[in-house]
Amino acid sequence: MKQTTAPAGAPLQTPSDLPALMGKRYRIERLLGVGGMGAVYRARDLVREQFGDPEPWVALKTLNDTFSRHPDANALLYSEFALTSRLHHRHIVRPHSFHVDAQSKRAFLTLELLAGPTLDQIMSSHPEGLPWSDLQPLALALLDALQHAHQRGVLHGDIKPTNVMLCESDVRLFDFGLGQGNEGLLSRLPRLSRRRLAAWTPRYAALELLDGGDLSPATDLYALACVLYELASGHHPFSRLTARQAMRMDQYRSLQKPAHLPAHCWPALRRALAFEPAQRTSSVSELRQVFGQPIRRWWPWPQWAAVSLPLGRTSQ
């Protein structure tokens, strides 16, 4: 019978279902996050530690029990590793390696360890949305990351606030666990497994995914548009509704421009949120272009305005 006593200062138990040492090399230290399919831990790489690396930690991802019993489980995790490995972008997480732990037969992958708040944490401290000066660089980083992935033929498949982290003011998109390579790319990887394992996060899934359709750049666009809207306004564009529920209630018609969003960004963002793929005529590159524009001032700031401001508030 297993018994653990937690001494003060070491309050956490090792997860009961995972070997404490994975692949004879990575010592699991703590749980960082739980997704629908897997869990991510912080682990210490004993090899790096042996060579005196002052930062020997990695993020270690395994599939949870439900999925690790799936016949394609290891291949599914491998495809996440393979897809992520094909991306080289400062705003996309960097993978290290893929392994199968011989003893437990569990596949796992290691990635760079990210530290910082995820976007859902940022939003919970900004209920009114982010000011444009914060929103713009964040949006551009995300749009650049997704544009890069799409150019390399990789679809993310599960863009949502918990899959974006802000690390020391640098943005990282991660979790390509439901990602997919387009035709031709990675053709020998188990693409079919994705179809058998159709999965999504309801509030960020485009209508066609809910209807059994395939991932596409347009489904990623819809999810990212939901996240951008949420960052700008502090709330999801269709609150707690899925695309299908929101469409039935005709919520698109009543979408309001978030107060912090410059007017010139709104038409493209609004089109990116269209339920029907045919009407989602915006694109990642179009959003990138409009979000990158400086705010237009239609009227030059008049000289006399500075003078008429209350004392002490002039800009000079």
């Binding site: 019978m1 297993k2 018994q3 653990t4 006593t5 937690a6 003060a8 200062g9 309050p11 956490l12 138990q13 997860p15 009961s16 279902d17 703590r30 749980l31 960082l32 996050g33 739980v34 997704g35 629908g36 399919m37 869990a39 949870n64 029990d65 439900t66 859902d120 944490q121 919970s124 401290s125 599960d158 949502k160 606030p161 918990t162 439901l178 394992l197 159709a198 999965a199 999504w200 996060t201 309801p202 509030r203 059994g212 707690r240």
Partner: protein, 245 residues
């Protein structure tokens, strides 16, 4: 200035295949928590662990009210993740994943208990045992609507939780604030532990001079029974620091 003597233990019990309980004994910072996970496969264990990890990482300062806000915010975030940001698979029911939580924060003699679900916080004071938390269970709900405790206990779903982290889109936490006295003891525990013991046995354990001794007796007694559920407990004892000579 208050120092803390605390001790904690978690045990899988004699029947369950995994331990879905998790605990946090964060003595610098004065934050303690017990979480009891629920859900199929390992989901419950992950949910309770996620709660504890989030609380372990929380920056805590000297202001109890601010610390309380941070703890609440962290628990709401875990709830949000477990309810609204979960990846679902076509043709499968939503993975049920959640956890109870009971947490105590202290600053000097001021202390605060926050909870959702049926994990409990007891206070042992001057030879009397007080329950500081009130279960969020169907039985407790029935009792609150004037049904006798014995009748409520007979309800087939008496132990069903009415609140937990991850159970609903909006998490409602209960809180009770209290002032600690010399010789007080606090006990945080999962239902596996308190359902295994009588009130007399709880009192008998908390009466002992050190937190570690209390923990050992609690587990010895609980493991003499069938121990069908996971068992987790933290005992906390404020010890007024002796003034320097």
């Amino acid at each position: 200035m208050i120092h803390w003597d605390s001790a904690s233990q978690t045990h899988i019990g004699k029947v369950r295949k995994r331990n879905e309980d998790a605990l946090l004994d964060r003595r610098p910072g004065s934050l303690w928590a017990v979480a009891d996970g629920m859900g199929g496969h390992q989901n419950g264990a992950l949910a309770s662990r996620l709660i504890v990890e989030q609380l372990a990482d929380l920056p805590l300062g000297a202001n109890l009210d601010q610390n309380q806000r941070r703890v609440r915010q962290a628990l709401h975030q875990v709830n949000h993740r477990l309810t609204q940001e979960v990846t679902l698979c076509a043709g499968r029911p939503a993975p049920l994943s959640g956890s109870t939580v009971v947490a105590v924060l202290a600053q000097g003699r001021r202390a605060l208990c926050l909870w959702a679900g049926d994990s409990r916080c007891y206070l042992w004071r001057q030879q009397k045992l007080y329950l500081l938390s009130r279960d969020h269970t169907l039985a407790q709900q029935l009792i609150s609507s004037n049904i006798s405790a014995s009748q409520a206990a007979r309800h087939p779903n008496a132990q069903a939780l009415t609140r937990a982290v991850g159970a609903h889109e909006v998490l409602r936490l209960d809180a009770s604030e209290f002032t600690l006295q010399d010789h007080d003891r606090l006990l945080l525990c999962s239902d596996g532990l308190y359902r295994s013991l009588s009130l007399r046995q709880l009192a008998q354990s908390l009466r002992l001079p050190t937190a570690q001794a209390s923990i050992e007796l609690l587990f010895n007694l609980a493991l003499q029974g069938p121990a069908k559920d996971n068992l987790t407990a933290i005992v906390i004892r404020p010890t007024p620091a002796t003034s320097p000579p």
